[in-house]
């Protein structure tokens, strides 16, 4: 099963649309609510990152019987130092992002914590790709 969602940079009103859609699908598939929560929290943080930092992005979701694969790709400034970005508390978020309740340097660490596997690749001045894979059975 494959889905894709568009994410607009700067548009906080729509942040969470992909996570909300994926949550509904996983509920219909009777996935354990604890597993669903991990998946949608990671995806939601990813969406917020695209809205907060990039110009535009796309979420691609592929679900099979055993696992969910999520690819969040954006056109944006990229991440110069991924290790630094993974550190809790490190953030380059704007005041606007902080007003929305994010931007405390917890997004990527939260995503890592809630996925079985995470791959991040980024090119400065071009964009970032985050890939999340999580097993559907606990």
């Amino acid at each position: 099963m494959e889905f894709s969602y568009e994410v607009e940079g700067g548009n906080f009103a729509k942040a969470g649309n992909a996570a909300s859609g994926v949550k509904k699908v996983l509920k219909q598939l009777n996935v354990d609510p604890k597993v669903i929560k991990r998946i949608v929290v990671a995806l939601y943080e990813g969406e917020v990152n695209v809205v907060a930092h990039a110009y535009k992005g796309k979420v691609l979701v592929d679900i099979d019987t055993s696992r969910i694969y999520i690819r969040i790709e954006d056109e944006g400034p990229g991440i110069p130092d991924i290790d630094l970005a993974m550190q809790v508390g490190y953030s380059t978020a704007s005041a606007m992002v902080r007003e929305m309740g994010f931007g405390a340097g917890m997004g990527l660490p939260n995503m890592k914590r809630n996925a079985d596997a995470i791959e991040i690749s980024s090119k400065v001045g071009e964009g970032t790709v985050v890939e999340l894979t999580t097993k559907l059975t606990s």
């Binding site: 942040a15 996570a19 909300s20 949550k23 929560k37 929290v41 943080e45 309740g101 994010f102 917890m106």
Partner: protein, 118 residues
């Protein structure tokens, strides 16, 4: 061991207004968490949590959706927007508006036995 409290009772204790989710006010919560930082809310593993916050925007309600939180109390007299009500209704989330400060809100809930997440 957490002690359960009905959402209806939370609104009574806080002398607060239930804005939406009337059909779910007899549901119970076991724990409370207070934060204006949504990323902190997204780290919680507990279930049956009431979120106490002064942050009124659509992302507060989205965060509750992702974190399986069924009740949000907005403190300091903050008003809920129609967009927030729309998302809350989709997810059976109860939204409550409370005039008290966050400190007083938490104190009152603690007094009636609502337990912290950690």
């Amino acid at each position: 061991m957490a002690s359960s409290i009905k959402i209806r009772k939370i609104a009574e204790v806080l002398d607060a207004q239930i804005v939406c989710g009337d059909s779910f006010i007899d549901h119970e919560v076991d724990y409370a968490f207070a934060s204006d930082l949504m990323s902190d809310v997204l780290t919680l593993d507990s279930e049956q949590v009431v979120l106490i916050t002064g942050l009124t925007n659509i992302q507060t309600v989205r965060t509750a959706e992702m974190a399986d939180i069924n009740c949000i109390v907005f403190v300091r007299g903050k008003r809920v927007t129609p967009e927030m009500i729309e998302v809350a209704n989709e997810n059976n989330t109860v939204l409550i508006e409370c005039q008290y400060s966050m400190f007083k809100t938490i104190g009152l809930l603690h007094e009636v036995g609502v337990t912290p997440v950690y």
